[in-house]
């Protein structure tokens, strides 16, 4: 999937669909028919194109975007300063926790950044404390204090 599409993989209608549908659709019985009127395409064409865009990897999905925290989960970005000669051993210890959802090495003194995903807020501090015990290193917690509205768009 880590592959860039050829420039001719998408035509103008595909690009219109990608650009328009990032904004979301209204919840109506026949949402693609509503879009068809708006985009001057047919309903069948829009449905077939979204399916094809997914097949070729231009999009990852079309569906509801969920605020996981609103479902009751607890999430927290964490960072550690790991001495280079202990990196591999620390990766093994940290990743062994199922609460570690993803983990990146970054080019900074704080060189390991991961997200803890737990069912309850108290589990965040508990898991971080366990990682500190196991590694002997400090886990800095960076909980979200405020989230700003995101205007991110990929122009296709």
């Amino acid at each position: 999937m880590r592959q860039i599409l050829a420039p001719d993989a998408l035509d103008a209608a595909d690009r219109t669909i990608i650009n328009r549908l990032q904004d979301g659709i209204a919840i109506t019985p026949a949402p693609f028919a509503a879009l068809a009127a708006e985009l001057a395409m047919t309903e069948d064409d829009i449905i077939a194109r979204i399916a094809r865009l997914r097949e070729i990897g231009a999009i990852t999905r079309f569906g509801p975007f969920i605020d996981a925290a609103a479902l009751g989960g607890a999430f927290c970005l964490c960072a550690m300063e790991v001495p280079p000669d202990r990196l591999e051993a620390t990766v093994t210890l940290v990743n062994a926790h199922p609460q570690v959802a993803h983990n990146y090495e970054r080019d900074h003194r704080l060189n390991m950044w991961f997200v803890l995903a737990c069912e309850r807020p108290a589990d965040i501090a508990r898991t971080a404390a366990r990682i500190e015990e196991e590694t002997g290193l400090t886990v800095h917690l960076f909980p979200k204090e405020r989230e700003f509205f995101i205007g991110f768009r990929v122009e296709a």
Partner: protein, 161 residues
């Protein structure tokens, strides 16, 4: 808002995407033994409450050429974050924008903005644009590029952290 077991079943059933068919909510209803109207009503209620942010297409930004990204971080004066935070979040090249606690002395930054671009140079140009936007509200800044993915699991329901 509290969501009930039926709401959860709807979210689980659509986690991989909405069925690509003329009447998607009717199909979800058939899967779960609910009416189309009930599925729509529940999803609309969850959207109004913010549990569902939107029903939309997720572009694969890497496939579409946005192959570079960096986590830009900023030390913004506390009394200015409410003003500049929304402006940074609204930029079309910022995919996540959060206020987080500083951890002095290891970490003086409180505003995090993930920047995407077609190249490292483009990411740096966009970072410069944020610096201009922040002006004297910014007291220090940095950017962290990922050098390796150490773990990636399907945190399908989550965005950010």
């Amino acid at each position: 808002m509290t969501i009930d077991a039926t709401d959860r079943r709807i979210l689980q059933a659509t986690a991989g995407g909405l069925p690509l068919t003329a009447r998607p909510f009717a199909v979800v209803g058939r899967w779960l033994d609910l009416t189309e109207a009930e599925v729509m009503e529940r999803m609309a209620r969850m959207q109004a409450a913010g549990v569902i942010r939107r029903i939309a297409l997720a572009p694969n930004h890497y496939a579409l050429g946005m192959v570079a990204n960096g986590m830009s971080v900023w030390d913004v004066a506390d009394d200015r974050t409410g003003m500049v935070g929304p402006q940074v979040g609204a930029l079309p090249f910022v995919s996540h924008c959060y206020l987080r606690p500083r951890r002095p002395p290891a970490w003086p930054y409180n505003l995090f903005a993930m920047i995407h671009g077609a190249s490292r140079a483009e990411v740096e140009d966009k970072r410069a644009a944020i610096l201009t936007l922040l002006g004297d509200a910014c007291r220090g800044h940095d950017i962290l590029y990922s050098t390796r993915i150490l773990k990636k699991t399907g945190m399908r329901l989550a965005e950010g952290g």
